[in-house]
């Protein structure tokens, strides 16, 4: 194995990048200006205003039935299109039963 094979292993690459960042930080720390603490210095920038905090709770309840709807139809389409032994009345009956089950599931999803 070559050296690059060892360096390109993700943990090794991460540690190398960390080391380089630390070295750069140490090299440049010597001539940076002293930080002056001030009120509001570490607050988010909002044109000098206070940012009003808002509690957000993502709600996927309305999206969920539509996601399941498209998933069911997608799977049903794949199932019908690739129905094994697709010949004869038995196969057609099996397909129809499958579609009926899908229809009942969708009914439960939206009406139940």
């Amino acid at each position: 194995m070559e050296v690059s094979d060892y360096i390109l292993v993700p943990p090794a690459a991460f540690l190398l990048a960390l080391l380089l960042a630390w070295l750069f930080s140490r090299l440049t720390a010597g001539f940076r200006h002293a930080d002056i603490e001030a009120e509001g210095k570490n607050l988010p920038y909002a044109c000098g205003e206070d940012v009003s905090s808002q509690k957000a709770e993502p709600e996927y309840g309305a999206f969920f039935p539509f996601a399941i709807f498209f998933t069911l139809l997608h799977v049903a389409g794949l199932m019908i299109a690739t129905w094994s032994g697709a010949s004869g009345a038995g196969a057609a009956l099996g397909g129809l039963i499958y579609l009926a089950v899908i229809g009942a599931t969708l009914g439960i999803l939206f009406l139940g």
Binding site: F31, H33, G40, K41, L43, Y45, G48
Partner: protein
Amino acid sequence: MENKVIERVVTWARMKSPWIIHFNCGACNGCDIEVLDALTPRFDVERFGVMLKGTPRHADVLIACGPVTRQIEARLKRIYSQMAEPKFVVAVGACACSGGVFDGCYNVLGGVNSAIPVSAYIPGCPVRPEALIDGVVKLLSTLEKKEEPAPAVSKTV
């Protein structure tokens, strides 16, 4: 010796790319429009490395227009405190320099220097972009000599 070389390199880099943030402290918008005129293609100060930034944390120079109203004072001070060291303030326009025609109003504190230290004053009502460029050049030229610039005054062009 080594530190001096590094400081010279840093100063050179700072002079070649003074990033600015523009803040209206209560101006009538006349000076703001002229600042934008200086930034946009007709005068195009970006060719000198001057770039308008959207946050004080990336800016070296605060371009302040208008008189400091009592309502804006705390906001101006917070923005100034959020800038990284070393930082410079340019008072743009007669109102920013001294309060202008608004000086003495019940809601006006005064010029920009009544709230934060100012590095350069550019008088004019409104300032012309040429004056703004002249003021920024004067401010930058003081950086070559020492770290903390004495207030530079640009003549009105």
